[in-house]
């Protein structure tokens, strides 16, 4: 299998910006809406080349969600852009009624998710959004791992029909997947094959999982790394097949321990094939100001925390 390394770093939001611009060229029905964060969301290229299909909403996220829902009537495919906090918590009821329950083809695109937006602090660091969005019936939830995959996910959403949430981030991050690596919504991406433990990760933490895997290999532990870029619909088969082989799992996400990827995996295993699970996630607390690296370390989301979780789960597996 491929060895994952990187030569370049870029923010995942830029992958969204490029993907949206490509979609704009391909599909005249794609429209963009933004709530006074065009630069932060990297929507400027789309705005520049398709001004008649770009709508500045001002600082009014609830209105933006409603307008997006309405624009689908008559065949437009709206992509809304704002920070993850204001894309979800701020407008949950609007999304619930006007988009999800009404089955509208709106793509909710959310940047600055998780701790790694850094210095702005906890008011902006949403760590509950995956949980909120995956609880909505019919909502597709995608959390890509790097610049290239965010671009591919954005383009895939142009073809996908139905409400969807796309979560990405602010910091410069290793680009470790190939620009043409296959990406299919709902299909887990096995990055590294292994036999002792399965590490399930999403978003930025896929890279941390890959780093952890290299160190585990040095210690003679064979870890399988699976990128669950689509939280919903969840690739249940891939999860069960892997854990059937390895017998235990570690989940990694830049999200609360409640409601996110860890809960998804634990639910599948508890229902269909009980196995020990350890979770690398924020432990029921708010974040704070700091650099992304400092924050990932302080809140226990680094490669060293993944290794610790692997050691723990392996011990539990043996006992079992």
């Amino acid at each position: 299998m491929t060895k994952f390394t990187f030569t370049e770093k870029k923010d995942t939001r830029s992958g969204f910006g490029v993907g949206l611009h490509e979609l704009g060229k391909k599909n005249p029905n794609v429209v963009g809406l933004c709530a006074d964060l065009t630069g932060s969301l990297k929507m400027d290229a789309f705005k520049k080349d398709f001004p008649e299909r770009f709508f500045q909403v001002g600082i009014a996220e609830a209105n933006m969600m409603g307008i997006a829902a309405g624009m689908t009537i008559g065949g437009k495919i709206p992509f809304t852009g704002t920070f993850a906090n204001f894309s979800t918590g701020r407008v949950y009821d609007q999304i619930r009624q006007s988009i999800a329950y009404s089955d509208k083809n709106v793509k909710i695109c959310a940047s600055h998710a998780g701790l790694t937006l850094g210095e702005d602090g906890a008011t902006h660091q949403i760590l509950e959004d995956i949980g909120m969005m995956r609880m909505l019936p019919g909502m597709t939830v995608i959390v890509p791992c790097d610049y290239n995959q965010t671009r591919l996910a954005t383009i895939a959403l142009g073809e996908h029909v139905g409400p969807a949430y796309l979560r990405f981030g602010r910091p410069s991050w290793p680009i470790f997947t190939a620009p043409d690596r296959p990406f299919t919504i709902g299909k887990a991406d096995k990055m590294i094959e292994g036999k002792d433990v399965t590490i399930f990760a999403c978003g930025h933490l896929v890279w941390n999982a890959i780093e952890a895997e290299a160190k585990l290999t040095e210690r003679g532990i064979s870890a399988e790394v699976i990128n669950i870029h689509t939280i919903k619909p969840l690739d249940v088969e891939a999860i069960l097949a892997s854990v059937q082989k390895t017998g235990c799992a570690v989940t990694c996400e830049e999200h609360q321990i409640n409601g996110g990827l860890g809960d998804c995996v634990a639910q599948v295993l508890a229902r269909f094939n009980p196995a020990p699970v350890e979770m690398v996630a924020v432990n029921d607390s708010f974040g704070e100001s700091g650099t992304p690296t400092q924050l990932l370390k302080k809140y226990g989301l680094g490669p060293e925390n993944i290794i610790e979780a692997v050691d723990k789960v392996l011990k539990r597996k043996k006992k079992g």
């Binding site: 001002g58 009014a60 209105n63 409603g66 307008i67 309405g70 009537i73 008559g74 329950y101 009404s102």
Partner: protein, 283 residues
């Protein structure tokens, strides 16, 4: 439509739809008769004279006028109107709010009821949605109108004012919005619960063209909506302040907020029906 309306027919429709409303809420012993009865002329005027629309419903409604109901709790009047306009068999009105019905307590698309394009019930969202639909009509070079109705109590929702700001800024001039100004909401008169003060001045200050008319005189409603079409397409959205009486047409339901969301009992139903001639046959 420009031909002279048959007001006699419209009045007969209104009477029948009012019967439908009180019978629907009576049957399930829940729902919102007050606002429904107050807005009956509005729906009759829209669906039987003003709008170009096709009861063979399709979601996109290209080349048609679109109707949205933001104050979704007055679903009985919309359902009864849609049924009488041929969107579905009036017999289905008997399923309102019962299990396995397409006629949900509040309007929904989930059960694919013809005529409904978005769910509503959580107040404050419909104006935004209708702005989006109007914007798509512009992008599609579709010159038909989008109509949306809101409640006056609903004006207390902040999102309404986000939408109020957006529409003139983006020159959404194919949008004809209406507020049901009945002066009532659940807990009492709007001016006691949370004063709306001068709605005309407020909407004008936000950049809308505002007019007012009597919402319980069918002639006035038709005239008002026809005039709204003339005011539209000039760079600004249009707002109708439609004065109505909650519970209009049933004497004991009028004059207070009491019948906002209460169903009549058997006795009360009889009293109500005695005041509303059956004109097209009950479902």
């Amino acid at each position: 439509m420009s031909q002279q309306p048959d007001f006699d027919r419209l009045k007969k429709l209104a009477s029948q739809i009012r019967r439908d409303i009180v019978r629907m809420v009576h049957a399930c012993q829940s729902g919102h008769p007050g606002g429904s009865l107050g807005c009956t002329e509005y729906f009759v005027a829209l669906y039987f004279h003003i709008m170009k629309h096709d009861p063979k419903f399709n979601m996109d409604g290209k080349g048609e006028d679109l109707c949205f109901l933001s104050n979704g709790h007055i679903s009985p009047v919309w359902y009864a109107t849609l049924a009488r306009a041929g969107y579905f068999d009036p017999k289905e009105l008997s399923t309102f709010r019962f299990i396995n019905s397409r006629l949900q307590g509040h309007p929904a698309t989930h059960e694919h009821l013809p005529g409904i394009r978005v769910a509503s019930g959580s107040l404050g969202q419909g104006l935004s949605v209708s702005i989006g639909a109007a914007q798509t009509k512009k992008l599609n070079n579709d010159d038909r109108f989008v109509y949306v109705l809101m409640g006056d109590g609903e004006q207390q929702e902040g999102q309404v004012w986000e939408a109020a700001m957006y529409a003139p800024h983006h020159k959404i001039d194919n949008l004809i919005a209406t507020i049901d100004v009945n002066g009532q909401q659940i807990d009492g008169p709007t001016e006691k619960i949370m004063s709306l003060l001068d709605l005309k001045a407020k909407w004008e200050a936000f950049g809308w063209i505002v007019q007012a008319f009597d919402g319980n005189k069918i002639e006035e409603v038709v005239k008002g909506l026809e005039n709204a079409q003339k005011l539209a397409k000039k760079g600004k959205p249009v707002m109708n302040l439609m004065k109505t009486e909650m519970g209009y047409g049933v004497d004991y339901m009028m004059g207070s907020h009491k019948w906002h969301g209460v169903a009549p009992n058997d006795e009360e139903l009889k009293k109500a029906l005695a005041q509303l001639p059956e004109t097209l046959g009950d479902y």
